[in-house]
Structure formats: structure tokens, C-alpha cells
Symmetry: C2
Subunit: 243 residues, 2 copies
């Protein structure tokens, strides 16, 4: 029986520790409303996504990039007919997203509190450095983490550099997040342990798992764990450690 030694746990932040995607979705709805004279909601959102995608290499991820893309897309969609005050309203929506405190997902505080006693904990998130650090600092759970790492891309190289800097061996590392592509596969690729916790709005409704089973999935030959809630992480880590 091979029992891995677990030393460090990495947690994605947005939609893993706190709600995020629903804030973007609400702002996209407001964007579509504003553009309703010129486009259907579907077309408006599609155009916004196209602008975001086009700007990604130049802007990178994050709310400020999203806000600039909204202003650009609004101008284009309206054929230049939109009012300056409407563009500034989009800017204000962006500022409101930046100002909004992190709303923790259920169970996060208790789980981190428990794991922090035994493991080296790292927030590993991509996007806007200032905004992500600010969210962690204002989240109320910053003190449970030994390190906060904001990286520009979540690929195997970035994870390898990061783990190396902290003297963590990949096989002793567990990464937990809501994105298979960004949080799970690159870490599994390096020889680490990946844990996928899908983000859904139903998470907010607490439901019991009296007879739940921890289970694994295979994607592209990579084996990783899939959990319903962050509440199941301590049990999984105990099982991995063979105790």
C-alpha cells in the first residue's frame, strides 16, 4: 500500500473559497440591459466575450480587464451611439465588483481552521495581483494561509516554479479548486494530487451527505478526486495520509 506523505495544500480562491462567477454574471446582465437598444442579451454577451478574448493577451485576467472590455464592447455594439454616462456606469459596475468583500462559501472557514493546524496552506489564484491579495486580506481567512500566490497563468510550469520556491515536492502537494483545467490537471501532470470541487449556486444551500463516497475521475488519463464540497477535504486528506 502506497501512502503519500501530504505536506502542503493549495487552494484556488475564486469560486473555491468564495463566490465570484455570479458577480460577473450579474454585471454581464447589466451590460446586456444597457445595450438592449442595439442587441439582444445573447448577442450583447457574445460580443462582450469576444472583446474580452481579443484583449486577453494584452490585459490578462481580472475585473479591471473585464471593465475595460465592457467599455470597448459597448462602444462597438452601439455603433458609437452610446452615451458617455453609460460608459461611466459600466466603470462604476467594475468598481463595485472590486469593492465587494469576498463572500465565503459554506464550510470554508471551519475547514481551513482545521487544516491549518497540520499543513502548509497556500492560496494559488490567477488574475489581478492587487485585487486578489486585497480579497484574501479582507476575507477573514488570510491568517490560515502560509502564503498567497497570484500567478498569471495556471500551467504546469507556473506550478512547478511555485512549488520549488516553497521547497514543496509535487507528490506531497494537494491542489483544490473548481477548475479541472487550471487547478487539477497541471498539478496531476507534475505528480501532485488534484481535487476538483465544482462550483454551483446550489452550494449555498447546505445539504447533508450522510452516506457520501469520495470518488475519483479520469480526464485525459489524469486521475483526480472529485468532491461535492470543501467540507470533504479534511476527510480526503486523512484518507490520503492513510490515517
Amino acid at each position: 500500500l502506497e501512502v503519500p506523505l501530504i505536506r502542503a495544500l493549495g487552494f484556488d480562491a475564486d469560486d473555491t473559497l468564495w463566490h465570484n462567477e455570479d458577480h460577473f454574471a450579474a454585471t454581464e446582465d447589466a451590460f446586456a440591459d444597457l445595450l438592449s437598444r442595439w442587441a439582444t442579451p445573447e448577442d450583447a454577451k457574445e460580443a462582450l466575450l469576444a472583446t474580452e478574448t481579443q484583449n486577453l493577451e494584452l490585459f490578462g485576467y481580472g475585473v479591471k480587464s473585464f471593465t475595460l472590455s465592457m467599455i470597448e464592447a459597448a462602444m462597438e455594439l452601439s455603433g458609437g451611439a452610446i452615451e458617455a454616462s453609460d460608459l461611466v456606469m459600466l466603470l462604476e459596475r467594475g468598481k463595485a465588483m472590486l469593492a465587494r468583500p469576498a463572500e465565503l462559501l459554506p464550510g470554508v472557514e471551519q475547514v481551513l481552521s482545521e487544516l491549518a493546524k497540520h499543513y502548509f496552506l497556500i492560496v494559488i489564484t490567477k488574475g489581478d495581483l492587487h485585487h486578489q491579495e486585497r480579497k484574501v486580506q479582507m476575507s477573514g481567512v488570510a491568517h490560515f494561509f502560509n502564503a498567497i500566490e497570484v500567478i498569471s497563468e495556471k500551467d504546469p510550469n507556473s506550478y512547478a516554479r511555485l512549488l520549488d520556491r516553497h521547497n514543496i515536492i509535487p507528490s506531497e502537494f494537494v491542489m483544490i479548486g473548481n477548475s479541472v483545467k487550471s487547478d487539477v490537471l497541471p498539478v496531476v501532470h507534475l505528480g501532485g494530487i488534484g481535487v476538483h470541487i465544482p462550483y454551483t449556486f446550489t452550494w449555498a444551500h447546505e445539504h447533508a451527505h450522510p452516506d457520501h463516497e469520495l470518488h475519483t475521475r479520469n480526464v485525459d488519463g489524469a486521475r483526480y478526486w472529485e468532491l461535492d464540497s470543501i467540507r470533504e477535504v479534511p476527510e480526503l486528506v486523512q484518507r490520503l495520509a492513510g490515517s
Copy 2:
């Protein structure tokens, strides 16, 4: 005679490795031109600075933050009378700043090439993670660096954490940059060696220093080195190492 062992050198990026401030200054001039119906150039720039300062805690540093603040300040200065197309022009100025390749300062490539043979070199810069990494990658000198660190604030704590991550003892570390406040004093405070190289537009005009003297300055009780050009860094490091 106390001869410090030097193991690692940190370089600030903007206005130390490449021009930066002059791009901001040119865009501020364009901003003032655009607002000339409503404000004198001085008042326009002062209002922009006030908006930037007010947004700093929410936005952090960088071109995207600057661009959003320009749009906000233009709306306010014009009392809402500015055209949407003018706001989008400001957005396009911001995008042009992001797209512009780093223009290396004289001597940078040669000096890095020489120092990279003997020392662990780190870019240490604050601001926008994606933009700063992108500038380094496109600069043509990325391969001379062992690490690229983008931090949100350049204070003693940030430097201490960064050096610790790289297992660098502060007394064996030299930090080189154009800002006494951000690049020099925090490092001297930790027991490291600070080197100040003021940024001036005249740098672009190469001038010989046949009889220059390396010299030190004192600010708030902190002693650090002041050089005219990055070209003098190898000589200083040799002198510090007592060779």
C-alpha cells in the same frame, strides 16, 4: 575590513531597466489636450492625479488602473459633457501603452549579461502582474533573470518574504532601482545593500564618466549607493565583494 558576500541582485524594472515614466507623461499630455475645453493642462493633470490617488487602494498600480482613472476623471472634469468617443480614445491610449514594447535603457543588456554569469538575478517590480511579466518576456533580457517577482507593495515585509522564498540572506542582497522609497530604503532597512540610480530623460544621451567616483548617500539614517547609470553596477559589486 568587512567584505560582504554578494549572492543575489534585484533590479527594479520600470525606469531602471526600461523607459516608463515618459510614456505616462505623454498620455497625461494627451489627456490634458482632450480636456482643454474644460480645464487648463495643470488643472486637468491635477484632477487626474487626484482620481488616481483616490482609486489606488481599490485599483492598485499599473496602466489598466491609470486608464480607468483617466476615463473617470474625464467624465468629472467635463461635468458629463465629454463624448463617449473621447472616453474610448483614452481607453485606446491605455491599450497602446500596454502594447508598447519595453525600450531598454542604455547599457542594460550588457550589464545584465555580465552579472548573470556570477549572480542570482531577480526582477522585482510592483504593479500589474500580467503587464509586468509581459514586458519582461518581451524585453529581450528575460533570460538573464533567475526569477521575476511582481509584488503589490515594495515595503520591508514584501522584500523579506520574497528573499526568504529564494533563501537569500538580506546582507548578501543588492537592490538596484530608481526609487529611493521603494527600491532602496526597504532593503537597507532589512540589512541589504541599496543602490539608487535616478531616472532622467538625459540618460538616453550617452555620456562618458572618465573620472566618476562611486559615492554613497544618507537618507533618514539609511546609507546607500548612488550611481549615474546601470553601467556602474558591475564595478560597484566588485568593490563590495572586495575583489
